[in-house]
């Protein structure tokens, strides 16, 4: 019988790692993810988890050790956030290029400067082009589930790419919620043992991994990463189906809420989706036709799902906790790309909010709706809007 426990998001991530039975975990403490390696070291200390836990001296070595372990042929897990993820940056490309299905939990946190330990998505968004699959969790249950799903997708032979699961700093990492912990046997059935056919360091069958790619071969190697990420679209949906059958919880590339007759749809990721649902209920009571949508998978980008969502609305308002300087939000840019060749498309607006742990209030969301309404009425509005900016201290 699945067990229900009240726990923090970080603990949910550690439980997911325990259930997935990785043979090697390498991690370095960083706020707000520190509890993940702490909890895992407790599991290992108590003999509840049979993994080698490498207490590395940096995040750079954490991911490097994971690459080594994964290349040696075992299931591998790590966790980090923010600066730690940024320190891994170089090796993230290599993990994907070498097609190593490492899974990483990330307590989504802002980047310096100024130093800030609170939530936004700038850390994972900055790694969107590394070739890692990216999931974003709305709550602690999703953090646990998506890590299991991430292993299953990453290790699929049609994919073989690393995957990261983001869950918002403090909002989830440190907040306790009831979480259902699935039965170990069902997880074992779902994941199976990881037996790689492509990458393992075995003296009986020596292979060279991480060779030099001349211009004659480099592009093709990168193409295979592209192809694997394209394959991941299909595989993720299959895994979502299988997960529902096994565990009873349903996941979507984009989850919709009251969108069918909406004139304005607010699209976001992560924990903000919960707030949006409540807000939509409130606005519906006031007679405003709005809906909400939550993007669970950001890489591969859910292009078809975005197109379908866009067909339902007149304004697609994107609420995001990241900024790509010189263009706007990253999700906005990607959404625009998905819609560029559509004959009919809604007005797409970008709202940058909640950076560095700034609260996203109903008041902020009202402002989003006001701007969206103006755009709907044909008024000219900014495409990129900073919401909740304290202009008095600028």
């Amino acid at each position: 019988m699945p067990m229900r426990k009240v726990m923090k998001g970080n603990e949910a991530a550690a439980w997911a790692a325990k259930l997935a039975k990785p043979k090697v975990v390498a991690a370095f403490p960083i706020t707000p993810s520190t509890l993940v390696p702490e909890k895992i070291s407790e599991f290992v200390a108590d003999g509840e988890m049979d993994a080698e836990f490498i207490k590395v001296e940096s995040e750079h070595s954490a991911i490097s050790a994971c690459v080594g372990a994964s290349a040696a042929g075992v299931r591998t897990f790590t966790a980090t956030a923010s600066q730690g993820l940024a320190l891994m940056h170089e090796i993230l490309f290599i993990a994907a290029g070498m097609r190593l299905p490492i899974v990483m939990a990330i307590g989504n946190r802002a980047l310096s400067a100024p130093i800030n330990i609170w939530n936004d998505w700038q850390d994972t968004i900055s790694e969107r082009d590394t070739g890692w699959i990216q999931f974003y969790a709305e709550n602690n249950q999703e953090a646990l589930d998506l890590i299991l799903i991430a292993f299953k997708v990453a290790e699929d032979e049609r994919v073989l790419l690393p995957a990261m699961v983001g869950f918002d700093a403090f909002i989830l990492t440190h907040t306790v919620e009831p979480v259902e912990i699935p039965d170990q046997e069902v997880v074992d059935e779902f994941l199976g043992e990881y037996v790689p056919k492509h990458a393992y360091l075995d003296p009986a069958r020596p292979i060279t991994q991480g060779a030099l790619g001349f211009p004659a071969h480099y592009m093709e190697a990168r193409y295979t990463v592209w192809e694997a990420m394209e394959n991941a679209r299909k595989v993720i949906k299959e895994v979502f189906d299988e997960f529902e059958k096994k565990f009873g919880r349903r996941y979507h590339m984009i989850e919709e809420y009251k969108t069918d007759d909406a004139e304005i749809i607010l699209l976001t990721m992560g924990s903000l989706a919960g707030t949006l649902k409540e807000f939509v209920d409130k606005k519906r009571e006031e007679g405003v036709k709005i809906g909400a949508a939550k993007m669970t998978v950001y890489r591969p980008f859910p292009i078809e799902e975005i197109k379908a969502l866009a067909k339902k609305t007149k304004v697609l308002a994107i609420l995001e906790k990241d900024i790509s300087f010189g263009i706007g939000g990253a999700v906005f840019a990607d959404t625009s790309r998905a819609l560029i060749n559509e004959k009919e498309k809604p007005i797409v607006l970008d709202f940058i909010l909640g950076l560095g742990g700034r609260d996203v209030t109903f008041e902020n969301l009202e402002e989003v709706v006001e701007i969206s309404k103006k755009a709907l009425e044909g008024e000219k509005v900014e495409e990129v809007n900073w919401i909740g900016l304290r202009k008095e201290i600028l």
């Binding site: 043979k23 090697v24 390498a26 049979d50 993994a51 080698e52 490498i54 207490k55 590395v56 001296e57 940096s58 750079h60 070595s61 954490a62 490097s64 050790a65 994971c66 690459v67 080594g68 372990a69 994964s70 290349a71 040696a72 042929g73 075992v74 591998t76 170089e90 090796i91 290599i94 070498m98 360091l201 075995d202 003296p203 009986a204 069958r205 020596p206 292979i207 060279t208 991994q209 991480g210 060779a211 030099l212 790619g213 001349f214 071969h217």
Partner: protein, 315 residues
């Protein structure tokens, strides 16, 4: 009378056809190191192939792994410049869980070891991974075209330490990573030179045989970087030992009071002058117009020996 030398296995893990320069010192290192490793593995585990190699970015990585070819007859992985020790840590942990017997050999040049990879090296040593870290020291960033590293010796010309009106070339003493490694109190640390291949071979075997981490720093002359003729590689590496500029020693468990020395003159007097070593190399050519710089280099070498516990005379 023939001197009895330890035998060297005929097994090869470093295949001909790699793209290193003629007379490449590090290429000799790769060949000898893997042979020694395989012998140690045969003795320890009954399987000469019971090892894998984690390689830092650098000359030897580039010349040996040009896709779709490989010069390696052993399982081999390259990830990046600074993380061979961390990658080796991961491989070792995975092998432990897989129940695979054997040892991991991590290889890096002086750039990947003394500079950018020093932190990962320290972490790996401190965590006591069962890994031998082999630093092939050609005393500059040779892969990128002869820029100075912290392992470049005093007075040497490199493209980023050029001698000029206000410069004698590299103006800092060489950093000895072997001593930093020994400070971790790991089971075995040694310096070696391809100028004494049997000594190097023995030390690699020893390093591979101990339980836990070991570190070997081997002098490996670079033909284009040192401005030496290809056929002089071994000779110049031998002169480094004979002139006292390259101490050969072993430190076990960080016991600096009981350092074992090899090829050390009984009376502490080196017979050949350092000038003999310098003269063979274009990178020191300019020093012969600056005798005070050669004297400074000698002072530094004497100081190094003093730190190692030996008073020496350099002619």
């Amino acid at each position: 009378m023939a001197v009895r030398k330890p035998p060297i296995t005929t097994r090869e893990y470093w295949a001909p056809g790699h793209a290193a320069c003629a007379g490449c010192g590090p290429a000799i290192v790769m060949k000898l190191a893997t042979k020694a490793f395989s012998e140690a593995m045969e003795e320890k585990y009954g399987d000469p192939n019971a090892f894998a190699i984690a390689h830092a970015t650098g000359c030897m990585e580039v010349v040996s792994g040009v896709f779709p070819y490989t010069a390696w007859k052993a399982p081999w992985i390259h990830v990046a410049f600074e993380n061979a020790a961390a990658v080796a840590s991961g491989v070792e942990a995975a092998w432990k869980k897989l129940g695979r017997k054997g040892k991991i050999l991590a290889i890096g040049g002086d750039g990947g070891t003394a500079d950018i990879g020093l932190q990962a090296l320290s972490g790996m040593l401190e965590r006591r991974h069962n890994v031998v870290y082999l630093m092939y020291d050609n005393e500059a960033y040779m892969n990128t075209g002869i820029q100075r590293s912290s392992s470049t010796p005093y007075g040497a010309w490199t493209t980023t330490s050029p001698p000029g009106k206000y410069s004698i070339g590299e103006d800092k003493p060489k950093k000895w990573v072997a001593l930093i490694a020994a400070a971790h109190q790991i089971p075995y640390v040694a310096t070696a030179s391809i100028g004494d291949p049997h000594d190097f071979y023995r030390k690699m075997k020893k390093a591979a045989s101990v339980d836990g981490p070991a570190f070997v720093q081997v002098l490996a002359p670079c033909v284009p970087g040192w401005r030496t003729p290809p056929e002089k590689t071994v000779e110049v590496a031998r002169l480094a030992i004979e002139t006292g500029i390259w101490p050969l020693f072993e430190i076990e468990n960080g016991d600096f009071h009981n350092i074992k020395f090899q090829r050390f003159p009984k009376d502490g007097k080196f017979k050949k002058p350092i000038e003999d070593y310098l003269r063979l190399q274009g990178r020191f050519k300019h020093l012969f117009k600056r005798p005070e710089a050669i004297q400074e280099l000698k002072n530094q070498i004497k100081e190094l020996w003093r730190i190692l516990g030996k008073e020496v005379e350099l002619p």
